[in-house]
């Protein structure tokens, strides 16, 4: 192995796949942060975003920028629906014992898994299990040469979108009233309720925002990848989950940093090992992090309530 232009290309390849993971990890971590529950249906919101985007593109052939608001709207609607079906029924009891109950949290987790399976099977039924191609005018696959390094235009778009999303979320969380509410609920749901925050509305807002980000990620990755299928959310969902855990569960910048780290590690590992082993790298990094940094790389101690 040598530090030549091919090696540099591998780092860039890693950053582009890392950006795909990061794009998904942002919404995932936001939703986890507020409820302390893994939202298994995030991958399906991502897939719904991609399929709605494709349907709009094939039916109306609008300019690409017009597709985005539509996908955002569908993402928000599916986030609100998801919260209503899978999460709200488990918040019927507001006393402290129920809120700290492990069983309740696990039931919520399983109900999001159930919704994700139902949603995926419905999409399989409607669209079939095959890969669906994206019309060529919309693809984000033009090669862009930066010196000797080749990048796809989609990688640049995804990188820029991740940066914008991250910045906008930090602004929302730390500079607005809504963000203050989200942080309060995330910190202590019961306490937030006592000081007069409408926790239900805050949670619904979080789901809407997180799912908007998820759906946008889905259509962007679809345009970058060239094909979408009802199963497309699974693999990046697992990587986004690993990035979130490594980043310390509730730190969004931490999850993004870890997503990029995973992407680059996988890519560089391909230089040394057969690429069939690259998932081994991901999970080894996860295990190492959990053993040596139980709080995650960017986490800080907090009450796991």
């Amino acid at each position: 192995m040598v530090f030549d232009v091919f090696f540099l290309q591998q780092v860039i390849n890693g950053l582009s796949i890392g950006c795909v993971y990061a794009l998904m990890a942002i919404g995932f971590t936001l939703i986890f942060g507020v409820l302390n529950v893994v939202n298994f249906a995030h991958g399906e919101v991502y897939t719904i975003g991609a399929f709605v985007g494709l349907m709009v593109i094939t039916a109306l052939a609008p300019p690409l920028l017009a597709v985005v608001p539509l996908v955002l709207a569908v993402g928000a609607a599916s986030g609100v629906g998801l919260e209503r079906i899978a999460f709200r029924p488990f918040r019927r009891f507001t006393d402290e014992a129920s809120q700290k109950s492990r069983a309740m949290r696990e039931a919520t987790l399983l109900s999001s898994l159930a919704v994700s399976i139902v949603a995926r099977e419905i999409m399989m039924h409607i669209f079939g299990g095959d890969m669906q191609g994206i019309p060529s005018g919309y693809l984000l696959q033009q090669p862009v040469a930066i010196g000797p390094i080749m990048v796809a235009s989609g990688s640049l778009v995804i990188f820029a979108t991740s940066a914008v999303m991250l910045g906008a979320l930090q602004f929302l969380l730390y500079r607005t009233q809504t963000g203050l509410g989200i942080r309060a609920v995330s910190n202590n749901q019961l306490g937030a309720r006592y000081v007069g925050i409408n926790t239900d509305r805050t949670i619904v807002t979080t789901f809407a925002v997180g799912s908007m980000l998820g759906a946008t990620a889905g259509i962007l990755v679809g345009l970058y990848d060239g094909a979408i299928s009802p199963h497309m959310g699974f693999a990046p969902g697992v990587k986004a989950f690993v990035a979130m855990v490594m980043g310390g569960l509730s730190s969004i910048p931490g999850a993004v940093a870890c997503a990029l780290l995973l992407g680059v590690s996988e890519s560089i590992a391909t230089e040394f090992l057969s690429s069939g082993w690259k998932d081994l790298i991901t999970y080894s990094l996860l295990v190492i992090t959990l053993v040596f940094f139980p709080q995650g790389l960017f986490g800080h101690g907090r009450e796991r309530a």
């Binding site: 890969m131 040469a145 693999a235 057969s274």
Partner: protein, 374 residues
């Protein structure tokens, strides 16, 4: 008296039946076992459709004077137990001289053990497991395996003057057999393999593999994968500006490859047994007849069955109207250059593995086209 008259009439009638049966042609039966119900029934259905076309054409051609051939279908439900019962049923029927089927390797081998012990020639149109033909000298197949396709493609690439290759394969049983078949054939003829790279099923990002492989600048990249991955691979190769030509296994042969991969799959080469676009008149006759009768375009599976029936009928014609199970086996083993719709088929007299002239294809102007020349 009345009783005797009735008895006499019955006897007379029986004698008359026997006499006419002797005067008419001998009936030779081929047993065909395939899944005709259950979740694999679409394959059995295609086999039966294709077999009927071939059989009618054969009986009408008069190639076999003094005998008529019929096919008896039995439904194996893609179940090994069912297949064994069918095997006993066919063995007990003295008119059955040979069996075609079953669909999957597992079921074909379950029945094959009985045919091997009881000496009945068996020809499967689709069983591709390496051990199937190793059961006994009574097993044949007319489908090629990666052990044949790999060296075939290796010869093709070397004949085009390309001496080094990198192999990208899917990490499963099939992918490994495709890798072994190609690498063995390529090295044996003096080629050099620069890299072999596996990827896990479901992987969509090939940029790292492409970058790694491109460093060694092989003359070609050989893809052992299916169309979803093949299309993504070709697109990412184009994005990375890598110009190394692509060759692939027949598993990439699907209209979906072009639909998903578009311009990026232009120039991809692959060899396949059956293509409905093949201008060969035998293929065109079959495609038109099948489409007219069954309202659908025949695929690879229907073509395999059409040729399996053709090969067996050809062998029966060679063995003559007094064909037995033994003489049919010997005639099958002697099959050379059978002009089928899936390429001219010959059986190796020792291993009974098929060799075929495959159709060489490339993607040109957005569709698969037959390549003539190297």
């Amino acid at each position: 008296m009345r009783k005797h008259a009735v008895l006499g009439a019955v006897l007379g009638a029986m004698l008359a039946t026997i006499a006419t049966a002797q005067a008419a042609d001998r009936e030779i039966v081929i047993g065909y076992q395939a899944p005709l119900s259950g979740d694999r029934s679409q394959y059995g259905e295609m086999f039966r459709n294709a077999a009927q076309i071939k059989l009618e054409a054969f009986n009408a051609s008069g190639k076999l004077a003094g005998a008529k051939v019929a096919i008896t279908f039995e439904d194996s439900k893609d179940d090994p137990k069912e297949a064994r019962n069918i095997a006993h049923k066919f063995l007990d029927n003295s008119k059955v001289v040979g069996v075609i089927g079953d669909f999957s390797s597992t079921v074909s081998m379950a029945a094959g053990e009985i045919y091997a012990a009881e000496k009945m020639p068996q020809l499967s149109q689709t069983a591709s497991h390496p051990d199937f033909t190793k059961l006994s000298p009574w097993q044949f197949r007319n489908i090629t395996t990666q052990a044949f396709e790999g060296p075939y493609n290796a010869d093709w690439i070397l004949a085009a003057g390309k001496k080094t290759a990198a192999v990208i394969y899917i990490q499963n049983d099939w992918g490994i057999s495709a890798l072994d078949g190609f690498v063995g054939g390529f090295k044996a003829k003096g080629g050099t393999i620069t890299a072999t790279e596996a990827f896990n099923p479901g992987n969509r990002d090939f940029r790292s593999i492409l970058t790694k492989v491109a460093r060694q600048k092989p003359d070609v990249i050989y893809l052992a994968m299916f169309y979803e991955e093949g299309a993504a691979f070709a697109q990412q190769r184009e994005q990375l500006g890598i110009k190394i030509p692509l060759y692939g296994t027949s598993s990439l042969y699907s209209p979906k490859l072009i639909e998903l991969g578009r311009e990026s799959v232009e120039g991809l080469h692959l060899a396949t047994t059956f293509t409905p676009d093949n201008p060969d008149p035998a293929v065109q006759t079959f495609v038109k007849e099948y489409a007219a009768r069954f309202k659908s375009e025949p695929g690879m599976f229907a073509a395999q069955a059409y040729d399996a029936v053709g090969i067996m009928l050809d062998a029966i014609a060679k063995a003559g109207p007094s064909v037995t199970r033994e003489s049919l086996r010997d005639a099958l083993a002697a099959t050379t250059g059978y002009p089928g719709v899936t390429g001219a088929t010959s059986f190796d007299p020792v291993t009974r593995e098929p060799a075929k002239a495959l159709a060489r294809m490339t993607v040109k102007d957005g569709r698969f086209q037959v390549v003539t020349g190297p």
